[in-house]
Subunit: 352 residues, 3 copies
């Protein structure tokens, strides 16, 4: 599905994108709108002409990542809500996630390995949910550590190309998959630990926030936050709820209004992550944390987690269809699509 050339390009690309994500931090004093932001990002993407060869064009907009698959690569797509049906052929498309399960500890490590930046495309989300579902149903699996196999990025968040030039039906299908990932992760019966070994903006931050515990590599070049607003997009209420449950109402209000991206030290300070560690201590710390959580009687821990999170989960569950409609009507607005079109045309001109 992906050419060697594509994979080989990974390090260079993610480095460029990582510095881009971080540079958004310094945008605060500058007036920006969607167009100028898009324009500012072009330099990144024109350095990636080999993407065309691979049948994918991947471009990141701040925390978002745009990947446009060639039509030939799209036929395998499944709706995340039909996860079980899709499960039979998960092996054939399981290139975006790899799972190591240690029977002796009952702990699985899920490696996200969808270059260049683990963007949350429909394919990615579908495969993620299938893997998660499998582990959830395996009684011997009691803990899950989520981390990235890519250098410098945990996940760059939602794939914007899933939202551009698509039918309302496709946009809706994509959004249901995002909801599904959140619902599954936030109410998982497993102990979930995010081992954040790179930048984690937008949807990547959301994914981290759903876990029971967050450990981030203490590298000031990495950042984390729900920065949607910087891109002219609005984090939906359940992103907001998840963050407010973690860092409180006021910090969330400021963070979302300004689309803040935090360094690991800042994230620790506001409680967005629970611990920061040197890169080489990340996995051992995650395992120690997991052991501590697994020492608690499982049934009581699960009931407690449900008690804490059920009201938030129920809010989305009860408004799920309306939330899809909201998203679709927002993202298919002429103004939003126009901005995306202008950007993509600009991108094409630069590439030419």
């Amino acid at each position: 599905m992906r050419s060697k050339g594509h994979r080989g390009a990974r390090p260079r690309c993610t480095r460029t994108i990582a510095s881009l994500l971080l540079s958004v931090n310094s945008f605060h004093n500058v007036r920006l709108d969607l167009n100028s932001l898009f324009a500012g990002l072009v330099s990144c993407h024109v350095s990636l002409p080999h993407f065309k060869q691979s049948g994918f064009r991947n471009v990141s907009v701040g925390g978002f990542f745009l990947s446009q698959a060639s039509s030939s690569s799209r036929h395998g797509r499944v709706c995340a809500s039909t996860v079980l049906a899709a499960q039979q052929r998960s092996n054939s498309t399981s290139s975006k996630i790899s799972v190591d399960f240690d029977q002796s500890t009952g702990v699985a490590v899920m490696h996200m390995k969808s270059p260049p930046v683990n963007s949350l495309s429909l394919d990615f989300l579908t495969e993620f949910c299938i893997s998660l579902e499998k582990l959830e149903m395996d009684k011997s699996c009691r803990g899950l550590i989520i981390t990235s196999s890519l250098p410098k990025v945990f996940s760059a968040g939602l794939d914007i190309l899933e939202m551009y030039g698509k039918s309302p039906e496709s946009c809706g299908e994509f959004w249901k998959a995002v909801q599904e990932m959140w619902l599954k992760l936030y109410s998982s019966n497993m102990v979930t630990v995010a081992a954040i070994n790179g930048s984690s903006p937008a949807g990547g931050c959301l994914m981290s926030l759903t876990c029971d515990y967050r450990i981030m590599v203490d590298n000031p070049r990495y950042s984390i936050g729900l920065n949607e607003t910087q891109l002219g997009i609005v984090a939906p209420f359940w992103f907001k709820d998840t963050m407010a449950n973690t860092v409180g109402h006021r910090v969330t209000e400021m963070a979302l209004a300004l689309g803040m991206l935090y360094s690991p030290a800042e994230a620790l300070n506001i409680g967005l992550v629970d611990q920061i560690v040197p890169e080489d201590k990340l996995m051992s710390t995650a395992e120690q944390t997991m052991a501590k959580w697994l020492a608690i009687p499982a049934h009581a821990r699960q009931l407690t987690k449900s008690m804490m999170r059920k009201p938030t989960v129920d809010r989305l569950t009860s408004k799920r269809e309306a939330d899809v409609q909201n998203f679709v009507s927002f993202i298919t607005k002429d103004a939003i699509q126009n901005s995306l079109r202008v950007y993509l045309e600009m991108l094409k001109r630069k590439k030419a």
Copy 2:
């Protein structure tokens, strides 16, 4: 409407009142009730005999400010809910607020200048809401900085004389104006920054809390807080909600129960203000903050703000009439009115 003598008296009066407001901080270990508190305030007001000449008598009760206009000055009053009708003659009554609007930045600065302490009378609130509405409807105005033109006080809060000896109708009209100010400010589409250059108790604190960002002058003689309880009065639920959204449930519980007034450093520590700066850096810091907020795509920022605040706004909107009835029935209680009467008679005796 105001004599020269009145304005000239401003500095001396506010100095006395400022130290009074701050002295409430040291009341914690002392048993106090409304009467003794009122009695303790007389020394301030007897030094202001010239108020009589101006047709106004202004007296502050802790964070509250009592101003009783002569009947001749009352005919211009409008209900805040009929703001548009009143707008035509806003020039004739526009002495309490002045607005500087910079077309180049899109930022308006609203100076509160109602001596001696910017108490929130019905007149003040009406004019404030009219000014706010004008700016809100002006698409070129994107940001609002609220500050005081008076020395040492931002705003001393609600005007108690609007609550004494008034008909239930008048009390209700006043309370609707307070609600209106809060509703308009808390859900403003503009970026709002409070540049707090003096003490800001009770309603003054509420006004600050409605803004997107609060910067306070780092002068330990200034204080800020919802201190209603100290006066035997209860902050209504939407004051409480606004504070809890900012500093959390527990800090709010303690602060309201004890009627806490915080120094700027303490306020920063609990998150009641976002930043403290030297007096001469206040406006430049407010402008830099504003530029940072205005750099965010406006539509996304506004939707995000609405998402964060709408549940709180809706709570009042849905109970607005009941909240007015609550207030009117509380404030017109014989016990409360009696305390006010005793106090005012005492004041007259001292003046005689």
Copy 3:
């Protein structure tokens, strides 16, 4: 009702139990389940053979305390919801609480003195609620300080023997008494200060959390927290609400999931207690705090307290019967009762 031998055993027993409670802190990295935890506790209880003589067997499970009264000592029990009826004979059973009321200050000090660890049995709760009701109805009593007369323990929490081998009716009656204590304390019109002079796990922590202010002795051997999960039991939603109102959602989520017990310094750091002091300064600090709170006009303070807490109180009130049913069906589960039975048999074998 209790023999001399029983009382004389108090110091030795509580010392053992106190260190036991604290040792749970170091359990985090160890896999534990109900049985191993129970087994680990046996060493404590076999050293207390004299309990048999007194007609009581008292055993503590972490934060819980199991006391099984001989049938002869049970006939005096009253349901907490029939407190008024029981009040007439409160003198005859008032051995578990003593109250010192100072008319000059209006402050009552309630000493919990039910050896060995002030476990919250039905008898204890009934007497506690009767004492509280009396003070609440006495207009001259405006403040209440709750403390322990026992060394090293404030209260070890709910009495597990009220939950083992009992009919659903008895379990339900017990749970109503726990609810009653919480409802009465959390919505008390008095100023309530917890003077925490020893470990305060589980229900002991809950009792502290209901107060207006918490002062804890700064002894690192004491601990406080809702550690139910460690025992395979789940803190009910109103325990959770009370904690979240105090320390926020995220800290509560972690604390409950892991069954965290905090040292006084840690508890201060997360806001679980408001102040820590040397042992010999506890009561004087409590009295100074009380004087500060009593200086606030009582009516305004009470209305403010009600405004802050009523939504939380109403949640239980509206679901009270369902909450009893939940508890009864959980605690009478074969799995839970089996664990308790295995433990108690093990205890008997060790004693033999």
